[in-house]
């Protein structure tokens, strides 16, 4: 058991450097969507290899996906952010109903699988098993909980306070972002980058200030960075910027 514990402890914090297709955030415009309504969901996708991908979103109750549920599929894109409308079709419950919101970014050449997801609600409930045959690098699957009820609380919004200018190789650069809106006590921030790495991360709930430290790599290059803020109240907001690292 000790060995396994050491193994578990060896991982440390999740990596902040992204080298493959990743769905980083799915931010519904409403923390609690009204049942049956259309809600826009903004999706941030890291696509460092600039693969030609398509994005699909669908929502299911925790237990299973309803027959006849819908799946929204976007057009092929190679960017880093896309917004899609998602219909919320679960019955209205007296109390808030948790959903699982699924996001799938998949290489366009495998997009025919999305038809299968559309046709079979069981596949949508367990998408991992359907994707098992694909190379890991050809898709990115993510999920999050989403509450559907009668409320309509606006999520937090993140505004980037200071965009660092080009960083020098091996330099450490502080990046500040300010969150507008109310942060809960459990508010967290998650920085990601396709170039270099992030070190220190802190969130000041009172002031809404997010402070992260970008560590430039030893070689110059251009990449993209994100700060994903979970506001502690169910809302998600992101900010993204281009990172450039130059020689001293």
């Amino acid at each position: 058991m000790i060995s396994v514990l050491l193994l578990a402890c060896s991982g440390g914090n999740p990596a902040t450097t992204l080298d493959g297709l990743t769905v980083l955030a799915m931010a519904p415009e409403q923390v609690e969507a009204a049942s049956g309504s259309l809600a826009n969901v903004t999706v941030d996708v890291a696509n460092p290899l600039e693969q030609n991908v398509r994005l699909a979103l669908w929502a299911c109750p925790f237990s299973a996906c309803d027959e006849g549920g819908e799946i929204w599929v976007g057009e092929p894109f190679a960017g880093h952010q896309v917004a899609l409308p998602v219909s919320v079709l679960v019955p209205v419950a007296p109390e808030a109903t948790p959903l699982t919101l699924w996001g799938l970014a998949i290489e366009n050449e495998h997009a025919d699988l999305l038809d299968e997801f559309q046709a079979d609600s069981d596949l949508r409930a367990d998408p991992g098993s359907t994707l098992e045959a694909l190379p890991l690098a050809s898709y990115a699957l993510a999920r999050r909980t989403w509450t559907v009820g009668m409320g309509a609380t606006a999520p937090a919004a993140v505004a980037l306070n200071r965009v660092p200018e080009a960083a020098q190789v091996d330099a450490e650069v502080s990046v500040l972002a300010t969150v507008t809106g109310t942060l809960g006590d459990e508010a967290t921030a998650w920085p990601y980058t396709t170039l270099g790495a992030f070190a220190e991360v802190s969130v000041d709930v009172e002031s809404g200030q997010v402070d992260v430290t970008f560590v430039a790599p030893p070689e110059p290059g251009v990449g993209r960075a994100w700060i994903v803020v979970e506001d502690g109240n169910g809302g998600t907001a992101t900010v993204s910027w281009e990172v450039e690292v130059v020689r001293r």
């Binding site: 058991m1 000790i2 060995s3 396994v4 514990l5 050491l6 193994l7 402890c9 991982g11 999740p14 990596a15 080298d19 493959g20 990743t22 769905v23 955030a25 799915m26 998408p127 991992g128 098993s129 994707l131 098992e132 694909l134 890991l136 690098a137 990115a140 699957l141 993510a142 999920r143 999050r144 909980t145 998650w190 998600t236």
Partner: protein, 708 residues
């Protein structure tokens, strides 16, 4: 680092040692000598004598390598009769005498590590402290001390056996088809055995090495009693803690200690008696970390147990003997996680064994009748928020068992039918009965060859937690059980040579499966691949096939051993599931070992090991959970194998003999391997890359030992 071993040499009571005598070869024409015929005052564990098929029940001839306890004859400095002892009702018993253990390369003097050289024992991943027997899980096998169960065989991660080898006379390994004396298991048995050999004078041992320090003393009390005591303390924590720790986190490497006190003797009426107390304590901690005080425990593991027992062997009329053992103790396992997480299992335990036995003799069968009682008040708490909802509960467990066995000879055949009945009761209003028929037929094919066929049922009751309603248990659970079969063919073709081939099988059914997602104490790697998160149920089945072979030679100054195990172990957890390779399936395990007495106090040894890599399920998919910001893998249903394990060990011992004491220095180079061995498959945080965990690099272990 967790497989570092220490030098636990065997203290023989009468230094200075004699020059190595002729090896105690077993005469091919005298197969009876290969039986476990004890010396008159040897411990006579009941499985070795009461129904001994040899027709000398009153005075079996002393074994050639077993000195008279009260004689002046010094025991051999190097006993090389490694195995071959067996008992009629245990078709396959492989015994290692403590003298042999002392200098075996790779074992580093440890009693049970030496057993891992034998066929039937598979190598655990990372060399962790568990025994894998014939393709079964570690928890399916059991460890006994003179027939009384102890909860632990190794200190953390296999650093050392929990009982000092100096107090043991031998270690018996029964890979399957154990006699009815042993129960409540599905795999094999390791029986640590003491004897009643009295020291003729005060003796002592002091040894130190890279890992631990050991002190032992033996003192005769009058002419018919003696006391032996041993204490041991590891200090690898002091060495490794600074290495493993970082600026903000302190890793407290494993530390353990154990101690044993044994008072024993024999009355003039021939009753051998004993009082023994032993205890063991292990601890491992990781402290400090982000925003935490340096001494705040982040992860802590502890295992503590103690036992106190009284034991007596009494000769009765008409060749009958009585063995009585009363044992009590306490077991405790703890796991602490961060500030508010704690899991604990604790149980005061009580054990009683009463056995009457009579050896086989001309005109009358051998008989064995016994009662094997276990009781415990088992309490558990699992309150670690990171691992799900809290659980707590407990129950009083009463588990008496009765067993009977006969030994009948008809011509060249010896028949040993037996039956064991286990009753299991919890004060939760639940009880179970399990009847286990077992039998052995031995055929003496020639003066040097015999065949032993065995079949029998074994069973294991559920744990309290698995049935407790307060912890989401299943009160309808029954015994897991397994039919074990084997056919052991053994021959001794020439003096000092023996060879054995044993096909075996084990067919488990109604195995308890489910709830693999729960935090639990485990002795091996945790479940891998997709976890069975369903409710507990008796739905699992297993099938294990294999062949063990062992060739050993003990000639002159040489001792050699070649063991091989071919096996396949498969399981199916639920009826709808496919059969899959079991986590511990290892198709081939090979060990070649040689030891040479080079004279002038030098003893040299080498060991080579090969083992097929364990199966693992590759990651076939992954999902990024945005709530927790962690990846959850999907594992492939088809398994792949880790690369094979290959390693060599070299050992050299040099003994200087002085007038009143002797000093032995040893150097063991462990884990000499051409490439680092992959032990467990691990993955990067996003499960995108395989990052296998490799074994430890080559390690030199130096030790000093003084005996007087």
């Amino acid at each position: 680092m967790w497989t570092l071993l220490s030098v636990i040499a065997t203290a023989e009571p009468t230094p200075p040692p004699e020059p190595p005598p002729a090896p105690s070869d077993q005469a091919p024409a005298e197969p009876a000598q290969t039986e476990a015929a004890p010396p008159p005052l040897a411990p006579v564990p009941s499985e070795t004598t009461p129904n001994e098929p040899v027709a000398e029940p009153a005075a079996p001839p002393p074994e050639k390598d077993a000195p008279e306890p009260f004689s002046e004859e010094a025991p051999a400095a190097l006993e090389v009769t490694v195995s071959g002892k067996r008992t009629p009702s245990d078709p396959t018993v492989r015994v290692l005498e403590s003298d042999v253990i002392r200098t075996l390369p790779g074992a580093n003097g440890d009693a049970v590590r030496a057993v891992q050289n034998l066929p039937g024992v598979l190598r655990p991943p990372l060399g962790v402290g568990s025994i894998l027997v014939r393709g079964t899980a570690p928890e399916d096998s059991a460890t006994f001390l003179d027939g009384g169960r102890i909860p632990l065989v190794f200190h953390f991660s296999g650093l050392s056996t929990v009982v000092n080898a100096d107090l043991l006379s031998e270690v018996a390994f029964l890979p399957g088809n154990a006699s009815v004396r042993f129960g409540r298991l599905l795999g094999g048995v390791i029986d640590l055995r003491t004897d009643f050999e009295l020291p003729e004078s005060s003796t002592g041992t002091l040894s130190v090495d890279f890992i631990q320090a050991t002190a032992r003393a033996a003192q005769p009390i009058g002419e018919r009693a003696a006391i032996v005591a041993s204490v041991r303390r590891s200090y690898i924590d002091a060495i490794l803690t600074p290495v493993l720790s970082s600026a903000d986190m302190a890793v407290r490497a494993p530390r353990y200690y154990d101690g044993q006190v044994r008072l024993f003797g024999e009355t003039r009426a021939g009753t051998r008696w004993e009082f023994m107390a032993l205890g063991s304590d292990d601890a491992f901690r990781i402290a400090g970390g982000d925003d935490q005080p340096p001494d705040a425990i982040q992860i802590g593991l502890g295992t503590t147990f103690w036992r106190a027992r009284g034991r007596a062997f009494q000769p009765l009329d008409n060749g009958w003997q009585s063995e009585t053992m009363l044992m009590t103790g306490h077991d405790l396992q703890t796991f602490t996680f961060e500030v508010d997480g704690r899991a604990e299992e604790r149980a005061p335990v009580l054990g009683l064994r009463q056995e009457f036995g009579r050896p086989l003799a001309p005109g009358r069968p051998g008989l064995r009748l016994g009662l094997d009682f276990e009781g415990s008040d088992e309490q558990f708490v699992y309150d670690v928020p990171s691992f799900g909802p809290a659980e707590a509960g407990g129950a009083l467990r009463i588990a008496p068992a009765a067993y009977a066995e006969a030994t009948v000879r008809t011509g060249p055949l010896t028949w040993i039918p037996g039956v064991r009945a286990d009753y299991w009761w919890l004060d939760l209003g639940k009880s179970l009965v399990h009847i286990e028929p077992r039998g052995v037929v031995r055929a003496e094919l020639s003066a040097i060859t015999d065949l032993r066929l065995a079949a029998g049922l074994t069973g294991k009751a559920p744990t309290v937690r698995q049935v407790h309603p307060g912890s989401d248990g299943n009160p309808d659970l029954g015994h897991s059980e397994a039919w074990q079969v084997s056919a052991a063919l053994e021959t001794r073709p020439a003096r000092g040579w023996s060879a054995e081939v044993t096909p075996f099988g084990s067919f488990g059914r109604e195995l308890i499966v489910g709830r693999e997602d729960r935090l639990q104490f485990f002795s091996g790697p945790p479940p891998a691949g997709e976890l069975d998160t369903g409710d507990y149920a008796n739905e699992g089945v297993s099938r294990i096939f294999g062949v063990e072979s062992l060739v050993r030679v003990s000639r002159g100054r040489w001792f050699g051993l070649l063991s091989a195990t071919w096996s396949r172990s498969e399981r199916r957890d639920r009826e709808a599931d496919p059969w899959t390779l079991f986590t511990y399936d290892q198709p081939l395990a090979l060990t070649a070992l040689a030891s040479f007495d080079a004279n002038k106090g030098w003893q040299l040894g080498v060991r080579g090991r090969y083992g097929t890599g364990n199966p693992y399920h590759p990651v076939s998919g992954r999902t990024f959970d945005l709530d927790s910001r962690t990846y959850f893998p999907t594992f492939s249903e088809t398994s792949e194998r880790l690369p094979p394990f290959i390693a060599f060990d070299l050992r050299a011992d040099k003994t200087w003999t002085f007038r009143t004491w002797e000093l032995t220095a040893s150097l063991e180079l462990q884990n000499l391997t051409p490439v680092p061995n992959v032990e467990i498959m691990a993955w990067s945080d996003d499960y995108g890359e395989e990052e296998p965990l490799v074994g430890i690099p080559p390690i030199p272990v130096f030790g000093l030992r003084g005996d007087w």
